[in-house]
Symmetry: none
Subunit: 207 residues, 4 copies
């Protein structure tokens, strides 16, 4: 029943997503500043002006891209939080796995890169990204820690800690991969494990 829509219509509905996908490719390869509408259009296989039927500016495309990735992120957080059993180390490792997956695979890292570079000119998007994406991650980590405290694995003092310090290596790794990896490769698996070990050892040690 959903497939009975005329192809024209289906096409129309798909366009924004196609453009966003094309734009993300372009952003990844050329950075945001150097990306051109011409490049995005070419990747999307459409004309430059067609983009204006769906988006007002280049920034609007980026905004839409960022927004379109929110739902999944929310699901992710739910996924992390939903898991039922295990000790803190296991949970944390799983959360970190997920985060690295997103970051290494792509979109999230592209967003980070662009926000680092151009965030000052997109305060709304920065706020949005922080609120919808990063803070979910923080909340998730915070929840893990709270659970660890409840189960007695972690000391009460951990509660007041700025959780961003526990996520920092992941962001670092994401950016390093995109910038310095060619000149000094980072073994992402080993790094991830070091990251987990660092946090788990530190927090457990305080008990």
């Amino acid at each position: 029943m959903k497939n009975t829509l005329p192809p024209r219509k289906r096409r129309k509905d798909a366009r924004p997503a196609e453009i966003i996908a094309a734009a993300l490719e372009e952003f990844e390869v050329r950075g945001f500043g150097r990306s051109t509408l011409a490049g995005i259009a070419k990747r999307a296989g459409i004309s430059r002006t067609t983009i204006y039927l769906y988006f007002d500016t280049k920034e609007a495309i980026f905004e839409a891209a960022i927004r379109s990735s929110v739902e999944r992120a929310i699901d992710d957080v739910a996924e992390i939080a939903g898991s039922a059993e295990g000790d803190f180390g296991t949970f944390f490792a799983r959360a970190v796995d997920l985060i690295y997956d997103r970051l290494v695979e792509g979109k999230a890292a592209v967003f980070m890169k662009i926000l680092v570079a151009e965030g000052q000119f997109m305060p709304d998007l920065v706020a949005f990204y922080r609120r919808e994406i990063l803070s979910k991650g923080e909340a998730a980590i915070g929840a893990l820690i709270a659970r660890g405290i409840k189960t007695g694995e972690l000391p009460e003092s951990c509660r007041s800690e700025d959780v961003r310090v526990f996520m920092a290596p992941a962001i670092f790794a994401a950016l390093w991969l995109r910038v310095f990896d060619k000149v000094d490769p980072l073994d992402i698996e080993a790094f991830k494990q070091a990251h987990v070990r660092l946090v788990v050892d530190a927090l457990r040690g305080r008990a």
Copy 2:
């Protein structure tokens, strides 16, 4: 009498540094891509074309800026390594202090930001920055760990760890400050201490 040098001449010697300083301001405020020679010139109080007497391209200015910051970085490393006494925690805290100083104060973070944004188009500079700046930091941290192992404070197993994971929160903080701080301020002092605690606790705990 020593000051009787003709101002024109003195000017000339000072110009490159002035231009670099102006460029760094501009880069910091507008990012590299959006920076214009006109903006740099205005900040430096000179004409657009005067810049070309000293630098061939915008990239060249950035390169000069990055290179001009190397000497200090090297001194810093010496400073860290030179200190004589204390336990691992004290040493590491001092090193982290220094790193945050550089990163918060300015230049280094500006470079990081630009390299994140445009590094793919400046492979030479990425390599240079990594070699001359980042690897010094890594080496310093590695030396601290080696010393901790020798004094028995840290277990032998620490030696094989990727030291970048110990520096990551500093880089993270530097970028966060420039990007998300307005929307979610980061208490740099508290974060720094959390960073130190994280690493020290984790490494000590392994002993």
Copy 3:
């Protein structure tokens, strides 16, 4: 009804030719080096940037102009060679008539002038012009001479002569007209006849 094509579309097809025509005007008046895209655009009644929809660089415009004049040149040669009857003098006079026509009327002389001035920086175009234009002329003259030898009007020895010497006065006249004519006018008709007489007398005299 055939004329109901949208003007926008018709425009598009005509644009390159319009731009070329405008450019030739500009080149003729200002020379190639001093010609500006702004000037060409103004002559064509379009915006500066519109030119870039059709040509990549100023050189490309010149190249297109030169190429667009080739077909006619080829036809000319056919025309000369095709004529059926007459003695060598008649043939040669007709060929010279044609050459002077082209040269005096315009394009060809403009090209010559530009190539003289800037040819060292456009080796491909020099080669192209020589191959597609000048050598046709040489071939035509050579054919006339061969015919003259066959009919017995000219001695066999003429065959080995460098035919460029027979065309030289035409090139000279073309350039003189553009450079020295104001200060020392050249009666083109008289000169042309002198040219014909010179060559015909010389070649016949050898018989």
Copy 4:
């Protein structure tokens, strides 16, 4: 006695000539339009601004260069005309030799090239060059013809001929050498002989 001037003075007197020489090199290599004062200064081994002590503009340098070559040209003409004996063919061949020498060797051809390219913007120089250089050549050829008529070698009808047609191949050769020679070399010696033969045969044939 002339050599007792202080070296500073000698230097000063020599400067204009040095600059002119450097400029001619530059003009020859890069053409007039693309030549820069910076390039000329470098060739002359002096500073860009020093040129302004002696010349007001780039055009002024060219003008001085052209004027400085006049004396020699005048001498040349005298040389041609002064020779005492021989028939018309011999005389003409000698004159042509001389002309080709000048044209092939350099300065004169550089002037021609520049005037062809930029003459429309230097009407005074065009007039000057025509008057001081070209017309000398024409006069010399005219004198040769007059002498030929007097000695009975040439018919009276030659007198009314536009002598430029007799010089044209030389100009042609000079330009061809600078423009098309790489793509289609011209054997200058053979061409020169063909030129002489053409003119001599034609004029003699009329007798």
